[in-house]
Structures are given as structure tokens and as C-alpha cells.
């Protein structure tokens, strides 16, 4: 059984390391540091940690101001507040002037669980993707998260990193190479491409196993960077397989599914289907129950893959 670590945990741990290596790293939170895991940094470097309190708009504004003084701010809260409550601040004070702020938004998607729909962001990737100058990353596991956080710190400009509450399987090894803007073929195949962003990768891989049993060889591509999208890798995969499925713990509107659909329609129209949240809000429940309830399991990906494969074959 693969080890399970929450991506938010990997974020918190990496922040402490970065804090030690780089005196310009500063961290801000909005009264959620025990959940977002910025508490580790806060304990290690209290003079460089600023709690904005329950005031997310000011959180983002302060982060922007700190960036103008040469600091590298990581600003954290839940995804629903980071992308939602403070959207216009992210837009006008961070993205418009292209300031070097890293927004690490935790508790994204429905695996927030029991807190329910008001706290489960199904729309954060759509919102952040639409902002010019924003880099959008949804790492698949703890290993990729650690590397993505480092890459974000080194990148000049606004970055949005999507993290999960739930402990999820560790997929990548320590030697895994992460690069902003590069999608990675995690498993090769020739019958259908499964594109995954964020922690859906484990389900996509499990789906590929099941499809293999039916004689459908699925190629699994981890699209950790939603923006800029790795068009080359995605189109190359589809050129090989001829049909695709996108997988995300996010609305089918505006996230990975939309991004890939945009690309496909403009370059190489072929059967594509989106696995994601079907334009509904979340609700209270256990994370695993919710993944099932909202159609985000390996079985759901298998059904979608079969369907799109059929469309390809019958075309």
C-alpha cells in the first residue's frame, strides 16, 4: 500500500526548509496556519510570519506590498477564500502588476469533507486560470508538491498552488523531475490519453490498470501545471492515442477539462470527455464518500475512457 501524505503537509515542510535557505521568504496566513501547515514556518521563523487574521483581502494586499520590498511571500488560506474572497485583490494588486507572490491555497476541492459546500472550492482553478500573469499548479502528490513549491519560489511572478486536505498516495520518487509548465507522461499507452491534474493522478493510474484488463491501453499524463499549459505534450499524446479524458477534483467548467478542450478544438479536434464535478456545489461527507458521490473515482474515469474510446473507434 503506497504511503499517504497530504500535499498541504509537504507544502508546510518545504516552507520551513525554504525559510532556512532563503532569508527573503516570508509567509502569511489568515488564521488557518494549523490547517494550511504554515504553522511550522511560523514556529521556526516567527519574525517572518504574518497572520492577517480572518481578512483574506488584506492578506493578499500585504503579500503584494511585501513583494515590493524584495521579499518572496507565500500567502495561504483555503482555496475557496484565496481564489474567491480575495479574487479581485489577487487580480489587481498581484497579477496586474505581476508581483512575486506565491498563493498556496489549501483544502481545495470536495475532499475538504465534512465542512461542506461553503468550504469546498470547485471553481478555484477556473478563476486563477483566467488571470493574466498567473502560473497555476496543482501537484499530484507530496513529492511533486515539495518540488513545485521550490520551483514557485524560484519563479519570478505570481503563482497559485493548489493543495489538498486529504492524505493521498505518494506516487513519485525522490528523483522525480518537476518543471513548471511541463506535463509528464507517467505511463505510456496508445488507446486513450488520461490527463490528470492534482491529486486525481492516483485514480487515473488505477483506472489505467483496470482499462488494461479490458485490453485498452491508457496513457496517463500528469498535468501539474494548468497554466502555462504544456500544449506540446498534450497534443503529442492525443496524436498517438486519438481520444482523451481529463480528470480533476474541480468543476468541469474552467479547469483542466476546459483547458485541454480549448487546445484540442483549436489544433486537433477529436473525442474528449471531462471527468470532474458537474457544475454543482459540494456537501458534507467523508472525503472518500464525496469522491464517489461526485463521480471522481477510478471507476468513473474507466467509464469515461471506455465511452470516448468507443467514440473514437466508431468514428
Amino acid at each position: 500500500m503506497a504511503e499517504k501524505i497530504a500535499t498541504r503537509q509537504a507544502y508546510g515542510d518545504t516552507l520551513v526548509e525554504l525559510g532556512r535557505e532563503n532569508p527573503d521568504i516570508v509567509v502569511l496566513d489568515a488564521d488557518l496556519s494549523k490547517s494550511t501547515m504554515t504553522a511550522g514556518f511560523a514556529k521556526a521563523y516567527p519574525e517572518r510570519f504574518f497572520n492577517a487574521g480572518i481578512a483574506e483581502q488584506n492578506l493578499m494586499g500585504m503579500a503584494a506590498g511585501l513583494a515590493t520590498t524584495g521579499k518572496v511571500p507565500f500567502a495561504s488560506t483555503f482555496a475557496v477564500f484565496a481564489a474567491g474572497r480575495a479574487f479581485e485583490q489577487v487580480r489587481n494588486t498581484i497579477c496586474y502588476p505581476k508581483l512575486n507572490v506565491k498563493i498556496a491555497a489549501s483544502h481545495a476541492g470536495i475532499t475538504v469533507g465534512e465542512d461542506g459546500g461553503s468550504h469546498q472550492s470547485v471553481e478555484d482553478l477556473a478563476l486563477m486560470r483566467a488571470l493574466p500573469n498567473m502560473t497555476v499548479i496543482a501537484p499530484a502528490d507530496a513529492v511533486e508538491t515539495a518540488k513545485a513549491v521550490r520551483a514557485a519560489a524560484a519563479h519570478r511572478g505570481p503563482v497559485y498552488i493548489r493543495l489538498s486536505r486529504l492524505a493521498t498516495p505518494v506516487i513519485f520518487g525522490a528523483d522525480y523531475q518537476f518543471e513548471i509548465g511541463k506535463a509528464v507522461v507517467v505511463r505510456e499507452g496508445k488507446d486513450v490519453s488520461l490527463f490528470s491534474t492534482g491529486t486525481m493522478l492516483a485514480a487515473a493510474l488505477a483506472a489505467a490498470d483496470r482499462l488494461a484488463d479490458e485490453g485498452i491501453r491508457a496513457e496517463v499524463v500528469n498535468v501539474a501545471t494548468l497554466k502555462p499549459l504544456d500544449a506540446r505534450t498534450i497534443l503529442a499524446s492525443l496524436a498517438k492515442t486519438g481520444c482523451g479524458v481529463t480528470c480533476e477534483e474541480h468543476s468541469i467548467i474552467g479547469g483542466l477539462g476546459s483547458a485541454v478542450a480549448e487546445l484540442v478544438v483549436e489544433n486537433d479536434p477529436l473525442p474528449l470527455t471531462r471527468v470532474g464535478i458537474l457544475d454543482v456545489f459540494g456537501e458534507s461527507g467523508k472525503p472518500d464518500e464525496l469522491l464517489q458521490r461526485f463521480g471522481l473515482t477510478a471507476d468513473d474515469i474507466v467509464i469515461a475512457a471506455r465511452r470516448v474510446f468507443q467514440r473514437k473507434v466508431c468514428a
Binding site: A52, G53, Q57, G61, G65, L66, T68, Q89, T93, P97
Partner: protein, 274 residues
Amino acid sequence: MQLSADERRELTEIAQRARRDILTMITEAGSGHPGGSLSAVEILTLLYFKVMKIDPQRPDWPERDRFVLSKGHAAPALYAVLAERGFFSHVELNGLRQLGSMLQGHPDMKRTPGVEISTGSLGQGFSAAVGMALGARLNGGVSRVYALLGDGELQEGQVWEAAMAAAHYQLDGLTAFVDHNGYQIDGPITEVLSPEPIADKFRAFGWAVFEADGHDFAALTDAVGRALVVAGRPQVIVCRTVKGKGVSFMENQAGWHGKAPNREQLAQALAELA
């Protein structure tokens, strides 16, 4: 802080030129915000010519003081003063709001030398100023941060989030000004959504509060001098100002918040400001 008679005279002349530039550039552009630009002139002139530690030749000098125009629509006033101070040529003022111009409709830090942060959406600049003050303190506390807010702007909740944070973090390196001209787009602030009592609110939020006539250089200098020696708390100077100050037909008129004068009106205004 002292202001000599000569200094006061010089500042007054600069302010007069700035007012002429504001009206001219807005007329040229065909749009802009004269009312709230004219009310802010003395505050900006004092800051850029007397108070702030800055160097137009080194706009990125790390130890410089920072100014944030949180009421970003008063950009013409900022641009006029920046030009006077030598951050860029006067010629640029003619290009306000035009395609490709260095001078955007609201301050753009990426395009205009001397602009410390892009603003325009009210309340946001103030938060950024708080962040700058935090950063300045981490960097050794040699830079001060100044911010100018409108009185209508005080209706934005973010302003109070920022005010709370500034006091919580004891940011005595942050000095804010409120351009209290009493009017916003839809009318007097007391009728639209009254933010009064302004001084009391800031006091309640833990700020040191000073009040001054926002068009009197001596009074402003005195207030700034007293603000700068406050320890442990951010300071705000609530400035009683006149929207449209200097132009008889614009004074105290909500209607001149965001309307450009025509050529005739400009000529009349310039005659008054000669």
C-alpha cells in the same frame, strides 16, 4: 518639523503649477478625475518636496521612502507632482490615458517611474502599504511608508482590515493621510454611506490620529512632524480638504469627481490658477 516662509512659498508655487497640469492633462485626455486630484495637491506636494526621502535619479533605491496612492483615481495629481519632482519629463503629461502612454488612467508601477504600486481599486493600495511597512521593518526600518486614501474609500471593508493589521503589527513606520473632501461620485459621503466619525474610527483601531487643514502647508507640516515621532502605532492625518480646490466652479461639487473639463472650462480654470 519646521517650514520656513521661503519653503512655504515654493511649495505653494509648485502646487499651483501642479493644479494647472492636472486640469490640462485631464482635458487633453478627455477623461479623468479632477475633483479628487485637486483636493490632494498640497498633501502630495508636501510629501514629495519636503517630507519623503527619495531620489528621482534612483527610483529603485532600496532605502527610499514609499508613497502609495490608494485613492488611485487621483493619478493626475501624482503624475503632476512626480513630473515636477523630476521622475519623468513634463512632456509625458500630455499622454495621460492614451494608448501606449507611460501614464495610465490609474497608477501602474510597471510603466511609470516613481509609482510604487499599481492602484485604482479602492482599499487595495492601503493593504499594500501595510505590507510595504512590514517589509521595510524587516529590512532594517530605514524606509517610511506613506499612503493617501479618499474619504469615500473608507467605505471599503478592506481599509479596516488593513487598519487593524497596521495597529496589530505596531507599524509606526506607516503614516496615512485621508483626503477628507466630503464628496464621492453619488454625492456627499454623509448621504451615500457615512464613514463618520473618521478620526474616532482610526483612534478605535489603535492609530495615532492628527487632523489638519489639507490645503495649509504649515498645518500639514506640523501634523506630519508630530506623526513622525509617534512610537508603536501607525499614524493617520485626517485632512480637511475641498474637492476641486482652486477652481471656483469645481469646488465642493460631486459632479466634478470624474468629468473632464472642456477647452472653455479649462481656460477659465487656468485663468483662476494663474
